[in-house]
């Protein structure tokens, strides 16, 4: 396929966004636009039970009454929601029984992205290297999920959302939409109506998940929105560490990504959720790129439950994202560690909400925002303690680094305490990458780009340390790549 090859070569020569290639395969698409027929089409394609279809239709009716939010510090042209495809799936030639039935183009895509889909490839890797189970989502469908059998031995359920609806309807019905209600916000409601695929994880009581779980999202098709939905449940005393990675081809049109992620942690359970978001950010002139409007929320439902969100946000043209924790259980703990990098014309409005409901709940926020080029980077955070949240504590550290003089950094903290027995601490700094430090590094032999990477990595170190080892190394490289050409 010469067209594909050409695209790949063009993209490789650009080097700035190395995941920008397009996979040329036959797709099955729903007609463009959004109406109840499309919702029915998606549900039918997935062979969903009636209750799921009803849920979607109710969400769609609700969505029709809602307005797109405008409070975030981001600007983008009005989205025509009728001018997008809401379902795109690689056309399966036969029923998929094993990876060998998967379109080789898709296998090749994940290989190029460095995502291991074949278990033996993972196993053949370095001895003692951590094994990671992967759910690969390609446009609207999950194409492969690895290590399922091994995980099943310890009772862990790790599968695509579509499968979970059919295989584990009771669990899904018990938890779906309980953290992010259908009516939560414009994008979450849209997602509830048209969500395509995503990952479902259930860790049974007392089980420590024996390996890292991960989902790798890839938007490929043009004019297609991705609306994935992820639900992770850690039952009493369970532990899981979950990683999420995302990339998309370089396209001139903007593409919408509106995901919903729900986490539920019961008594003494712990969930670590890490994201390295590297959607295509658009070109130098701000053309194209992903609109990343995501609702991520964790419910620390049980006593002493713990959730931490760690995110490295380097991609997307516009990011609107506030992974949050509802600290419902007494003594539950929430953490948010974030690195948000904007360069070129990117805009990010991101942060977190820590809602303290239970007694002696604790939360910690460390946000590192880096703005370069003509970009804008906003931290927006809410910390609230309700009347019963006696002894609630929050610590917030919010640092911004500016590279150059055409970018902006903004910090918008909201604090609400309805009990006098809450302690909130907030520290914020804004610094400009110093010419003096750069010269010092260069005098020691570091070229400017390496010096910037080193200084920036120093700035974000506290957050990088929260990532699982193998992800931290990737993230460190990504930080350097995202800022290439930002100085000098």
């Amino acid at each position: 396929m010469p067209a594909v090859k050409e695209t790949i070569e063009t993209v490789e020569s650009l080097a700035e966004y190395e995941h920008g290639f397009i996979t040329d395969i036959e797709m099955e698409m729903a007609p463009k636009g959004l109406n109840t027929d499309i919702v029915r089409y998606i549900s039918a394609k997935k062979g969903e039970p009636d209750w799921m279809l009803e849920w979607r239709l109710a969400a769609y009716q609700r969505w029709l009454t809602m307005q797109e939010p405008s409070w975030a510090m981001v600007n983008y042209p009005t989205i025509d929601f009728q001018d997008s495809y809401y379902y795109a799936a690689p056309k399966a030639k036969v029923e998929l029984n094993s990876l060998d039935d998967l379109d080789p183009e898709i296998l090749e895509t994940y290989k190029k992205l460095g995502i291991p889909l074949r278990e033996q490839e993972v196993l053949a890797g370095v001895k003692g290297a951590p094994r990671i189970a992967v759910d690969a989502v390609f446009d609207s469908v999950s194409v492969a999920t690895t290590f399922r059998e091994e995980l099943a031995k310890s009772g862990v359920i790790f599968c695509s959302m579509s499968e979970s609806i059919k295989e584990y309807p009771d669990l899904v019905r018990q938890y779906l939409g309980t953290v992010v209600p259908v009516s939560d916000n414009f994008y979450a409601t849209l997602n509830s109506a048209v969500f395509s695929d995503g990952t479902f994880v259930y860790i049974p009581p007392g089980v420590r998940c024996p390996m890292e779980l991960s989902t790798y999202f890839r938007i490929n098709a043009a004019d297609t929105g991705q609306f994935e939905r992820t639900l992770i449940i850690a039952d009493k005393g369970a532990y899981v560490s979950y990683l999420e990675g995302c990339t998309a081809p370089m396209r001139d049109e903007n593409q919408l990504h509106a995901a919903v992620v729900e986490l539920v942690a019961l008594d003494d359970a712990e969930i670590k959720y890490s994201t390295v978001q590297n959607w295509y950010p658009g070109d130098k002139n701000g053309v194209g790129g992903i609109y990343n409007f995501v609702t991520k929320r964790a419910d620390c439902r049980g006593v002493r439950s713990k959730v931490s969100w760690t995110q490295v946000e380097t991609g997307s043209a516009v990011t609107w994202k506030y992974p949050s924790c509802i600290l419902r259980g007494d003594e539950s703990q929430g953490a948010f560690y974030s690195i948000a990098i904007t360069n070129g014309h990117q805009q990010a409005d991101t942060g977190t909400k820590m809602i303290h409901l239970g007694k002696n709940t604790r939360s910690r926020i460390v946000s590192k925002g880096i703005s370069a080029g003509k970009s804008n980077n906003t931290y927006r955070g809410l910390v609230s303690a309700h009347a019963k949240a006696k002894g609630a504590r929050n610590f917030t550290q919010c640092d911004s680094l500016l590279i150059g003089d055409q970018c902006g950094a903004h910090t918008v903290p909201y604090v609400e305490a309805k009990t006098p027995y809450a302690t909130f601490e907030h520290e914020a700094t804004t610094t400009r990458l110093s010419e003096d430090q750069l010269f010092y590094c260069r005098q020691r032999g570091l070229p400017t780009e390496d010096a910037v990477a080193l200084l920036v990595n120093g700035f974000v170190r506290e957050v990088l340390q929260e990532l699982p080892m193998e992800f931290a190394v990737e993230a460190q490289k990504l930080v350097a790549i995202s800022l290439e050409g930002s100085v000098g």
Binding site: S434, E435, D436, Q437, F439, Y440, C441, R442, Q443, R444, G445, L446, P447, T448, D450, L454, L455, N457, G458, F459, V460, R461, E462
Partner: protein, 248 residues
């Protein structure tokens, strides 16, 4: 080795170095002394290529290479090192990470391979022992929260580890107590050699008791106004710089 000829440097449109000529042959250590504001640090920044220190005339070469043509990191790779009068703090970057990255960048620029981690660890420990740098200092982010004296010690530690060919020490003695001065001076002396050169900037004689210079120059009003042997430093200590006011 280092040849500076009729160098003119402007800072923010003001002429600071006004026709400076100086030659440091391989194997020698030269001291530059002079009153505050004479342009000593300006000279060191111009030689290492700091932005804002505009060379408007003259030449400077190191072993025949035109320094003024090169980017700061290229000058470093050629073996030019500056021990800063005011070392910078680099938050979040452990000293050893910083130094390994710098060393490898220099080696890469020279077409050499990367140093292995065990070799680097051994090197860093050996050098640290000689200079009284503690393991804790090596692990902490570079210079962050260090005292003035610790920062100066760290500069010489970096210098010893990077093993440059030409070293400029800008007021390394300030901030060091007597004991530290001795340790640091010994470290510096160990780096002298037949194919190395040093320019030691100071305005006190006491450093030169420990690091014996071959030549002493007086910098005043942007020029070298006097040169002599080590005895010149002693005379300056006794009489001060007043007699050069005219010359400036």
């Amino acid at each position: 080795m280092l040849n500076i000829n009729n160098l003119h440097v402007e800072v923010g449109g003001t002429s600071i170095i006004k026709g400076l000529t100086l030659c440091v042959p391989a194997g020698e250590v030269h001291a530059i002394m002079g009153p505050n504001g004479a342009g000593k640090s300006t000279l060191s920044y111009a030689l290492t290529g700091r932005e804002g220190y505009e060379v408007v005339g003259g030449t400077a070469t190191l072993n025949g290479d035109d320094l003024l043509e090169l980017a700061p990191e290229e000058r470093a790779a050629k073996g030019l090192f500056l021990s800063f009068q005011y070392p910078l703090e680099i938050p979040g970057v452990p000293t050893l990470t910083f130094l390994r990255t710098a060393l490898n960048a220099q080696r890469k620029a020279r077409g050499e391979g990367e140093i292995s981690v065990p070799d680097f660890m051994k090197l860093s420990r050996d050098v640290a022992k000689k200079l009284g740098v503690t393991p804790d200092m090596m692990k902490r982010p570079l210079n962050v929260g260090f005292s003035g004296g610790e920062k100066k010690r760290m500069e010489i530690y970096q210098m010893a580890l990077l093993d440059p060919r030409f070293m400029i020490l800008d007021e390394t003695d300030s901030g060091l107590d007597i004991d530290a001065l001795k340790v640091v001076s010994e470290g510096v002396n160990a780096l002298r050699g037949p194919d190395k050169g040093m320019l030691v900037i100071t305005h006190y004689q006491r450093l030169l008791d420990h690091i014996k210079p071959d030549r002493v120059h007086v910098l005043a009003g942007g020029r070298i106004v006097d040169s002599g042997g080590p005895e010149l430093a002693l005379a300056l200590e006794a009489d001060g710089y007043d007699r050069y006011k005219e010359a400036a």
